[in-house]
């Protein structure tokens, strides 16, 4: 009898265990995350990457070919307009000037010589004419002298032109000599010095990348030259605000404005896509930036100022309507249909249907998808703002 009671109790306990499991299992409220409806601005943005460049920069290239004799500056140095930056070996250029001067002088002498000869012929001609007039000289001699005088005049003209030629050559040589000394074309910073003493500079490599000898830049204004994908370019307008993240300051963005939008798509190196060049002028900053740094940018394409907003994961879709799960004070949820405005990658503007400060279920996705009207939920973790 006693045993029967024990066995009955054991079976009852087992059934009770199963039943209680089932009941508590059913009643277990899903754990959800919650956020408050906030007021603030939302910026929808376009992401792009690119490099920093100086707003004003001059690339120094050589017009003459020669060996570098002396470099007077170093990279990073500040220079004033007209400062001598470097000098080529001038021996050849100076010799050229000297030679041309000599040629010029020789031309002068030849003109003098021709003029003297002309004077001589004219004197002879005058004498012969007097003799000819009185019949003492032959006509042929007289005409020969006339001819010789005309030739002498032509000779002088030719010598004068040679003189001019020599003068031009001299001025070219002097110009080349002067171009063997490089001066700063503007005041600024020497952003790069790619030449060393003893190296040979070659003239006429204007379009070869990296052929510039030096780069003088105005460091006060820095641009971000961004490559914006062709699918995003329609959203970009002049004067749009942009946050620029340089690799050196990954968490502290620089701010700037779009000042130039490229008008033709270019092939992006290493990818099939086309992109446009968009220039963003960075606002003044105390932090040190260098040209050539890579950067990424978030360009704010549209901004909803001071509207209500929610984390985007809170917004659910039901056919063509949107709704959120509002958390009531008794930890039950109710469905609130909302009108939505613009959205960014993380936030959604709410134009109608919610009030500031209301608590909304934002995740995780699986429990949210199972929620029903008036379900009780357990708040897993309040956001920092919610806790305040």
């Amino acid at each position: 009898m006693k045993k029967a009671i024990i066995i009955t109790l054991a079976i009852a306990a087992f059934i009770a265990l199963i039943v209680s499991k089932q009941i508590t299992g059913d009643e277990k409220a899903p754990e959800v995350n919650v956020a408050q409806v906030e007021q603030g601005s939302i910026a929808d943005s376009i992401m792009a990457s690119g490099n920093l460049v100086f707003n004003t920069q001059v690339q120094l290239r050589s017009e003459v070919t020669g060996r570098v004799d002396k470099v007077f500056v170093e990279e990073g140095q500040s220079v004033k307009q007209g400062d001598i930056l470097m000098r080529l070996d001038t021996t050849a250029f100076e010799s050229e000037v000297t030679r041309n001067k000599a040629v010029l002088r020789a031309s002068e002498i030849e003109i003098k010589h021709s003029k003297t000869r002309l004077l001589n012929i004219e004197r002879q001609l005058k004498r012969q004419k007097e003799l000819y007039d009185v019949g003492l000289a032959g006509q042929e001699v007289y005409e020969n002298l006339q001819n010789a005088r005309d030739l002498a005049k032509i000779d002088i003209e030719a010598r004068v032109e040679s003189y001019n030629q020599a003068k031009a050559s001299l001025s070219i040589a002097e110009d080349r000599l002067s171009k063997s000394v490089f001066r700063a074309p503007m005041s600024g910073l020497l952003a790069s010095v790619n030449i060393k003493e003893g190296e040979t500079v070659i003239a006429g490599t204007t379009n070869i990348i990296g052929s510039d000898l030096m780069l003088v830049a105005d460091p006060s204004a820095i641009l971000a030259e961004l490559r914006v994908d062709e699918t995003d370019i329609a959203g970009i307008k002049l004067d749009q605000h942009a946050d620029i993240y340089a690799a050196a300051y990954p968490n502290q963005p620089f701010t700037g404005k779009v000042i130039n939008i490229g008008t033709s798509a270019k092939n992006q190196a290493g990818s099939q896509g086309l992109s446009f060049r968009v220039k963003v002028l960075l606002d003044n900053t105390d932090r040190q930036l260098y040209a050539g740094m890579s950067c990424r940018a978030e360009i704010a394409t549209s901004i909803a100022v001071n509207g209500l907003k929610l984390p985007i994961e809170a917004v659910q879709k039901e056919d063509d309507k949107t709704f959120v799960w509002r958390l009531n004070d008794d930890n039950t949820v109710s469905k609130a249909y909302v009108e939505v405005g613009i959205s960014s990658d993380i936030e959604q503007a709410i134009t109608q249907g919610l009030n500031k400060g209301e608590r909304i279920v934002i995740g995780p996705a699986r429990p949210i998808s199972k929620l029903k009207e008036n379900d009780t939920v357990k708040v897993k973790q309040s956001t920092a703002k919610d806790a305040q």
């Binding site: 045993k3 066995i7 087992f14 265990l17 199963i18 499991k21 089932q22 299992g25 059913d26 699986r366």
Partner: protein
Amino acid sequence: MKSSNALSACIDIFISPSKAFNGLKEAKGWSWLAFALLALTLTASAYTFYATADSQFILDQQVAAASVDATIGEKKMIRQSMEQSLDNQVWFAIGGGIFGLLFINALLSGYYMLISKQDPDANYGYGAWYGFGVWSMMPMVISSLGVVALVLTASNNELPISLFNYASINQLLLGLELGDSFYTMMESLSIFSLWSIALVAIGLKCWTNFSFNKALLFAALPTIMIYSIWTIIIVA
């Protein structure tokens, strides 16, 4: 008093175990029935669970359990590798369960044979002790039937894997969360394992001349050893 046949032994093992063990002394072949029952209920519980449960929900739990400290990338990798074996999980569970049972019983049988040497009159072979071990695991039949009942009466298909351990010390008393260092240990220790220890103690008393206290000590010793070492590992 002893059970008259294998079928009655199957009932006696739950309500008056000494009768079942006394009967088993002379009829070792009964153990096949016990083993068949164990295997059958184990298969039934695993199959009903995996056939009913939402496989993605199971996956979520397994990933969460396997990657308590993992980064998002690692979780993704774990999930991918687990997804591949998702369809075969039921067979792994059944095969692993039966094989694990055979293996653990093989170790325990050796242990029972060893301690039985203390009684010079107890001359049972390894096979006999193996059968003894199978019978001592019979509470698992009840445990598995409980799982089947829980699965069949569940209101939706989101079944937690911890449902298998519904009678564990953790779920009944402690309520530790996943990620707690003692969670797995306390989940594995259930009232059914304590029942098995009690059965072993009763069985040892029937098969040997041990006092009940001595039999209980020997029955509980493997569990005490395992959980002591486990605790030391967790604490250290």
